[in-house]
């Protein structure tokens, strides 16, 4: 509301100054190319000011920031909950993917593709009768306190009921490009937020598997699943 009023106010002031300037200039001086250059340039800048908030709003890019302390708290809270099997209490923001598979084998071998070895939690439960529920969570991707979790590509799951295995397919390499609007030093000098470099916080996705209670688990070398009690 304040921003809309500011935009309207600046536009009205600009039009008033422009018309006054042209009227006064014609009376006293010959309008030179410099006058037009300055007027056109100012006009373009004012139009840009009017348009820029809409550009950001239209794509839904105006997002809330959280402090560094808060992002650290989110992370700690996430690991505390997942290690106790309280995945229902984890915020939906952290859930990248959920897949469900039928599974009838007595044992399950866990494989993975990709570069990073995933952190895997396994919950053996009676409720998962002949099914495997696979979840991929992430603590988030925070850049200067802005949450970019949505940009992370979730891993894929494939389950083979024939050879009794689940494969977690991580991205080979993911590149995320982010453009941030930064306040000018004439603002950050007084209101803070001036950072030469962006603070980026990121953890690899965490896999959570809900499997039948009496299922035997084996895994590839390098994977050490944590069984949730």
């Amino acid at each position: 509301m304040i921003s809309t009023l500011t935009i309207i106010g600046v536009t009205v002031i600009f039009i008033a100054i422009l018309s006054l300037y042209i009227r006064v200039s014609r009376k006293f001086v010959t309008i030179k190319i410099t006058h037009w250059l300055l007027l056109v340039y100012t006009g373009v800048l004012v139009v840009s000011m009017i348009a820029s908030p809409f550009v950001i709003d239209v794509k839904g890019k105006q997002i809330l920031q959280i402090s560094e302390d808060e992002s650290e708290k989110v992370k700690q809270d996430f690991y505390a909950k997942i290690s106790k099997g309280k995945i229902d209490e984890i915020s939906n923001r952290g859930l990248l993917k959920h897949s469900s598979f039928e599974f009838h084998q007595p044992s399950l071998k866990i494989n993975f593709t990709g570069i990073e070895t995933p952190l895997i939690y396994i919950e053996k439960t009676k409720t998962a009768d002949q099914r495997i529920e696979a979840y991929a969570f992430v603590t988030g991707l925070f850049i200067n306190g802005v949450d970019f979790t949505e940009k992370i590509q979730p891993p894929r799951f494939t389950v083979s009921d024939i050879d009794g295995s689940i494969t977690i397919h991580n991205e080979e390499h993911q590149t995320i490009n982010v453009s941030l609007l930064k306040n000018e030093f004439t603002i950050t000098q007084f209101l803070g937020g001036a950072k030469m470099f962006s603070l980026i916080k990121h953890d690899a996705p965490v896999i959570y598997l809900k499997v039948p209670k009496d299922l035997e688990i084996t895994s590839e070398t390098g994977i050490e699943p944590i069984v949730v009690e």
């Binding site: 410099t34 840009s48 105006q62 982010v178 941030l180």
Partner: protein, 246 residues
């Protein structure tokens, strides 16, 4: 027979309006320098990232920092330019003295600082729009509109005005003694070397910190205005000692 008396305020006003018209081309260079700065800002006014085997994150920051910095340089050069002989001789078209001339220059530089500061802050929106429209950048963050924007604009004006007053003093010193062209850089660079030799914080850094590290807008305003007035007063005092029309 009585001599007609002149009102100094009226002379300053006449000279000020004359200078606004006579130095209109300064705005052409302002537009040019800001467009150049906008172009440079499109590469981002800073970038950082993390790189691992599995993930690369590239962060580009967009702001009008470069535009403000370039406008400050423009203010400095414009202030030096108006102290040169051809510009000073404009004043002799009027009944004048060094004080009225100096005061009209002060108001002229204040005016161009206001124009430069407003345009520099508005330029951030053009940077956003170009980055979005032509470079297909997804822009994150909230646009600085309202109090933040007004503060940024006001402080930019103060910075440009302060730098202009510094430029005006340099220009005046050079007009008084051409050797100042050499002496001033030697003094600045020499002080850095001396401070480095004596293993203490460079004086230039201390001066910059005095302004750039100030966190209160009110105190900063006082610092910038008082410093500018001192620099202008020093310039007027120095030039007042010069012969007429030298």
């Amino acid at each position: 027979m009585s001599l007609p008396s002149v009102n100094p305020a009226e002379i300053v006003k006449k000279q000020y309006f004359f200078k606004l018209r006579a130095n209109i081309d300064a705005y052409s260079s302002l537009v040019g320098i800001q467009l150049l700065a906008i172009l440079m800002s499109l590469w981002g006014s800073g970038s950082s990232g993390i790189y691992s085997e599995a993930l690369s994150v590239d962060v580009k920051n967009y702001s009008a920092d470069i535009v403000i910095a370039f406008t400050m340089i423009w203010g400095l050069t414009t202030a030096i330019t108006i102290t040169t002989k051809p510009f000073r001789f404009h004043d002799f078209t009027f009944v004048t003295n060094r004080i009225t001339s100096g005061l009209s220059n002060l108001f002229f530089l204040l005016t161009i600082s206001v124009v430069g500061g407003i345009l520099a802050m508005l330029a951030r929106h053009l940077i956003i729009l170009i980055a979005y429209s032509f470079f297909n950048q997804e822009l994150y963050g909230s646009p600085a509109i309202g109090k933040e924007f007004i503060l940024g604009m006001f402080i930019s004006i103060l910075y440009i005005f302060f730098v202009s007053s510094f430029g005006y003093l340099i220009g005046t010193l050079v007009q008084v003694n051409k050797a100042s062209v050499l002496i001033i850089p030697v003094l600045v660079i020499g002080s850095v070397f001396i401070d480095a030799t004596m293993q203490r914080n460079p004086m230039v850094m201390n001066i910059l910190e005095f302004y750039f590290m100030e966190s209160s807008p009110l105190i900063f305003t006082l610092k910038a205005l008082v410093s500018s007035i001192i620099l202008f007063a020093a310039s007027i005092v120095i030039i007042n000692r010069m012969e007429v029309r030298k």
